[in-house]
Symmetry: C2
Subunit: 382 residues, 2 copies
């Protein structure tokens, strides 16, 4: 992969958003040439200097144009049809995490069905084809239910609650397929475990990150999580088990609920993930560098924390349409605050950046990120 | 500087080498658009995604084309004629560090002459116009002498020793001007202090870095330096004093000799510097981010170490022409080793990358970088 031309390898990503943008930063250090497949020239990764294949992942010829330039093509979002990925693999291209793992990342119901035999606990769930099946499931596990579109949702979109049987009929309005229904779980914490698996099966996990959601969207992340050490270890073990069973190559976020009865799988994201942005500053190797190392077949980097604690807060466009980064200087004046901008227009509720800090303790780190977010006037999403 | 378009500011740099490449990484986080002025499309910063103005800094129209795109133009090397920078400033463009500081960075004799009245100690020196003046100076301070071209040298080029009077005649061969001659100093350590000064005069310094040269080229850097704490403090004070007197804007490396009689100024580099590459991982804010913050008029970032110690080793092309990065995987397998590639062809003796590590102690960090450099077969330059 090194040929005396200064290049470690060439990697393609699908999508040109902030995940590809931060992967470009990691690619610069490693000497990796990064290509992204996306339609617009002003997308965050292209602005950051990633090379662009103009196109969309639903067109096989666009995916092929990307793959032909690259040693490996890892996914960045759930967009591409799995049959396209399978075709690329048949044509001899390296696609990471591979079509099976990508399919599970794309289909919440399939993920639950495939992982259940391997002892991965979830809330009671069903795939309901019509209101009658929802009613039957609600009668069995009790109301309210959480209902999700099996694929395509993120940041709380495509997920909603049904308070009682009277809402079952309306749940399918505007839906063109079955719905995943789950018993609503009483959880005390939400964790995300980032797991990385190399081409050779080498697997490492990051310390679990505790995530705080507001209106279904990730607002804050910190580590160490405020759960007992044995739950930390169990969460990492679960993530490694899942990585093994889906034959992961690259990074995957495993989102978990902490309940009084233990851990339950919530969602998988088979790509770099918002919950692990703090790995850039808080861990020896960032999720983005480890993603590149994994898909290129290189040894994985150490995942340990470089400080006692780390924290991150997302920066989102304000409800009134103003750009929090109008106050960038005030945030940069907070000692130890690391500001990341994605160069996206500040539409209300849209993630346009994040702030990370480390500190001797997790509370120190959270205090720094809170101060900087407050300086931006962006502490909590609208 | 923020206009709701996701851009913090636009910065131009002169030169497209590794300093601009690593500045591009910092620019991505801050949402800064970086432009570089350089002749070739395969230079390290362009490969990393910085936008390019094709040209060279000796042509005023090329500098102007760069300046017209940017909020500020900081230097990256000593290339541009000072009169061009002065013209840009007269035309209303922001040039950092500004023509006076750039002139001192370019002219070693002028730097000594300008700084001496401010109590900045140097070795005894003279500007010798001919062999007779060299002989007189050698008779005064004793042989051997160190002789330097006043401008244009780096990595030990343009610097050599004269063992005795019999070599004075030959010293001027191939030289088209006076030579800077210095008494050879018995030093115990070499330090580099990175100082950053904002547009408003806010000044911060990094912990002093100890540098180890091999054949006049920087080989290894580590911090904390192995000198008493009072020398650390004195070194930082000297660097701040110089920054004030040259009206610095941006970053500057102040290279110092530690002698039994105290500190002596060796050289200034008015730009990001090899000795401070370890700031990317070892300090809260990298030299590259602080350079951007300074020239854009933003608050400066914290410069404290994030670990007990940090270390860096340069990776240079091997004498036999092979590329040390052929063994990249072996270096990446060393836990905690951060590998930086510049995507330059591995010509013998050429800097093509570096390795950084942090650790609980400076010895831990040095041990990690040494292991990774050894894995590359690149521990010591040829």
């Amino acid at each position: 992969m090194t040929a005396g031309n200064g290049v470690t390898g060439t990697v393609g990503m699908i999508g040109g958003g902030q995940l590809a943008r931060m992967t470009q930063q990691a690619a610069i250090a490693l000497g990796v040439d990064l290509w992204v497949l996306c339609p617009d020239a002003d997308e965050p990764a292209v602005r950051a200097g990633a090379r662009q294949v103009v196109g969309t992942p639903d067109r096989y010829e666009d995916l092929l144009a990307l793959a032909e330039r690259c040693d490996a093509v890892p996914l960045d979002h759930e967009g591409p049809p799995p049959e396209h990925l399978e075709q690329l693999a048949r044509d001899g291209f390296v696609v990471a995490p591979g079509a099976p793992a990508a399919r599970l990342g794309r289909d919440k119901a399939e993920a639950r069905a495939v992982l259940a035999p391997h002892g991965i606990p979830t809330a009671p769930w069903t795939l309901a084809a019509d209101p009658q099946e929802l009613l039957a499931f609600g009668a069995e596990v009790g109301w309210p239910l959480i209902v999700k579109r099996p694929s395509g949702g993120y940041d709380g979109r495509g997920v909603w609650a049904l308070d009682g049987p009277e809402q079952a009929e309306g749940a399918f309005e505007g839906s063109d397929g079955p719905l995943l229904a789950e018993a609503r779980i009483a959880f005390t914490h939400e964790l995300a475990v980032m797991v990385v698996r190399g081409r050779d099966g080498e697997t490492v996990t990051y310390p679990p990150f505790e995530t705080v959601q507001v209106d279904g969207q990730c607002h804050e992340v910190f580590t160490p999580a405020s759960v007992p050490a044995e739950l930390d270890a169990e969460a990492r073990r679960l993530a490694s088990t899942i990585a093994h069973h889906v034959d992961l190559v690259g990074v995957m976020a495993v989102e978990l609920f902490v309940t009084t009865d233990g851990l339950l799988l919530n969602e998988l994201a088979v790509r770099p993930h918002n919950s692990a942005h703090l790995t850039i500053e808080a861990c020896t190797t960032s999720q983005f560098e480890n993603h590149l190392r994994a898909v290129l077949g290189l040894p994985l980097g150490a995942t340990d924390l470089v400080a006692g604690g780390g924290a991150m807060i997302n920066v989102v466009g304000a409800a009134d349409g103003h750009d929090p980064f109008d106050h960038l200087a005030a945030a940069l004046a907070v000692p130890g605050a690391h500001v990341h901008r994605y160069q996206k227009a500040a539409r209300p509720g849209r993630k346009i950046g994040h702030i990370t800090a480390t500190g001797p303790t997790v509370d120190d780190a959270r205090s720094t990120t809170a101060q900087a977010a407050s300086a931006l006037g962006a502490a909590v999403p609208a």
